[in-house]
């Protein structure tokens, strides 16, 4: 359903800072795939997610979602297919707006926005229910400004916002990296619950190898802007962190002893 074929992206072409961030990338996602993505710093993970979301145009190749070619569509047009949560908790919400306003904005993702009054009691009820599922007590704080929430709470709200209008694809870019370990595991648990209960197709970048192994049905490893390892199902379940490290060294021909990946295994 989501298909990326021969996609490349070079930043700052023709300058000393030229960087080929995606190099002939190919990826095909099946409906309901929950894919974890690992790879060293600068491997191109975020760039891949941004290319899918349309943050910038790619140089070549083709991206299709449900058979629709979206390669040249701007970000706001693709938004109807895609829900996103970023690493930075500040990025996914409007701090100066109320929780319910944020949810109401997200509820209309990819839909026509007209001159109807945005908030109504029926939707408010829905938001209350949905917030209650987070188990953070936010259901009583609908009209609080999001800026008053902690990073973890904001990330949980963003997760809800990304999925309240069921997306064809959920993109999660190290969305727990800025949280403390306890909060991170809470948000991660919520992520699994939401993805599983809505049968979402999701791509999740993580630097935590254990999470990458235990979560989802498929794992891909990236290096130098391309996918160097792709494993799913039974085979993935049997993998260990050591296997992954070996695989990485094998495939990329380098050791990553001082890499962030090592630190968080």
């Amino acid at each position: 359903m989501i298909e990326i074929t021969h996609v490349s992206k070079t930043f700052n072409k023709g300058t000393v800072n030229e960087k080929r961030a995606l190099d002939n990338l190919n990826l095909k996602l099946n409906e309901g795939d929950f894919v974890t993505i690992i790879g060293g710093n600068g491997a191109g993970k975020s760039t891949m997610l941004n290319a899918i979301a349309g943050t910038f145009p790619v140089d070549c190749g083709k991206i299709t979602i449900d058979g629709t070619n979206v390669t040249m569509d701007p970000e706001y047009k693709r938004a109807k297919y895609i829900g996103r949560v970023f690493q930075d908790p500040m990025k996914g919400t409007c701090a100066g707006m109320q929780i319910e306003e944020n949810l109401a904005l997200a509820k209309r993702r990819g839909q026509h926005r007209g001159l109807r009054w945005q908030l109504n009691d029926k939707e408010r009820e829905l938001y209350r229910e949905q917030l209650a599922t987070l188990g953070l007590g936010l259901e009583t704080r609908l009209s609080d400004k999001v800026g008053l929430l902690s990073g973890g709470q904001r990330q949980a709200v963003t997760l809800l916002m990304a999925t309240i209008q069921k997306p064809k694809l959920l993109l999660l870019d190290e969305h727990t990296a800025a949280l403390d370990p306890a909060t991170a595991s809470k948000v991660l648990r919520l992520t699994r619950e939401i993805v599983e209960s809505h049968h979402l197709t999701a791509l999740m970048v993580t630097h935590n190898m254990k999470d990458a192994l235990t979560i989802g049905n498929r794992l891909i490893m990236m290096d130098h802007g391309t996918i160097i390892y792709d494993v799913s199902g039974e085979e993935k379940m049997k993998l260990t962190v050591e296997d992954l490290l070996t695989k990485f060294e094998e495939a990329s021909g380098t050791e990553f002893s001082n890499d962030r990946m090592m630190l968080s295994k």
Binding site: A53, Y76, C94, A95, M97, E101, R109, L115, Q118, G152
Partner: protein, 322 residues
């Protein structure tokens, strides 16, 4: 000091403050909601005045003429919007370009004259002063208050709609709202157009109050707008949370600004110095909070942790955050 004269100038100060308040609401949209200081304002204010006076003199119904002034402002804002969003020209520069261009356009509209007097022509203001037997200032005030109420109601409604909320979100977190499917170019363009529509309306009404349009009538409008917003915040900022009241406090700021102006003029200050006073006022209002926080940081620093005990005590009582 002549007490009647003083009352008279206070009254005209309030009237001006109310009519200019419509412009302040326009500036509020771009400056407070989108964080764009839009310099189109100076030009679109004059544009509103020029279009409306010329239309009135051509025999067009004053209400329709006023709407034309507003529409012209709307288009001027749209021009800035296109320059800014379509061609990625920085907002300030886009506003300056439109403003400069409007200078010539405004002169053209007034047939090459720098000044377009309404003489005895009927206007919205004269309509009320004739019917109700009130002075020009009182009539302007009345019309102004009615318009302010209408505009605040409209803005309150509009910014609660789906489009209006998307527009507020554009000012708050552009990346986020784009990822939620909003073309932020369109929302910014719309905000600039609505803002300048209001500014044009304000110019149209001020021209009818003073009975002429002048090529310079909008000079410094943006600074007056910012000054009014700042005054409103200083007066009511801590008290009001509701969006409608925030708009109201901006208008109040405008009224206070023009009362101050009326008073200092009354007490013999040169009218030409008023611009310097406004600039100083805005600069001070923007600078003082920064200086204060710097001062507070220094003052509250101590080598020993005096704060710790109290902080722990508060923490034990339990904060909201998890």
């Amino acid at each position: 000091m002549n007490i009647n004269g003083l009352l008279g100038s206070l009254q005209s100060g309030v009237a001006q403050g109310v009519l200019w308040g419509i412009m302040v609401l326009g500036v509020y949209i771009t400056y407070k909601l989108l964080d764009i200081p839009d310099l189109t304002a100076d030009g679109s204010f004059t544009l509103g005045g020029c279009v409306t006076t010329v239309a009135i003199l051509a025999g067009i119904n004053p209400i329709l003429a006023t709407l034309m002034g507003m529409g012209a402002g709307f288009l001027a804002g749209a021009v800035t919007g296109v320059l800014h969003t379509f061609f990625d020209i920085p907002a300030i520069l886009a506003g300056i370009l439109t403003q400069i261009g409007l200078w010539s356009v405004n002169l053209r509209i007034m047939g090459g004259k720098a000044n377009n007097p309404l003489l005895k022509a009927d206007t919205i203001v004269s309509f009320f002063s004739d019917r109700l037997g009130i002075s020009n200032s009182q009539s302007s005030m009345l019309v102004g208050i009615l318009l302010i109420l209408l505009v605040i109601l409209f803005l309150y409604w509009f910014f609660g709609t789906e489009i209006g909320s998307a527009l507020r979100a554009t000012g708050d977190n552009e990346d986020m709202i784009r990822a939620l499917g909003v073309n932020t170019g369109h929302t910014k363009l719309l905000a600039l157009a609505i803002s300048n529509g209001l500014i044009g309306l304000s110019g149209a009404m001020v021209a009818q109050m003073q009975k002429y349009a002048d090529i310079n009538m909008g000079r410094g409008a943006i600074v007056i707008g910012l000054a009014a917003i700042v005054i409103g915040e200083v007066l009511l900022g801590r008290l009001v949370k509701n969006f409608g009241f925030k708009l109201f406090s901006a208008v109040l700021g405008s009224v206070v600004y023009f009362i101050i102006q009326a008073l200092v003029l009354r007490f013999g200050m040169d009218a030409n110095d008023m611009k310097l006073l406004s600039a100083l006022m805005v600069a001070a209002a923007l600078a003082i909070p920064v200086a204060m926080s710097r001062y507070n940081i220094k003052k509250s620093y101590s080598e020993n942790d005096l704060y710790a005990d109290e902080h722990r005590r508060l923490e034990r009582k339990g904060g909201k955050e998890s």
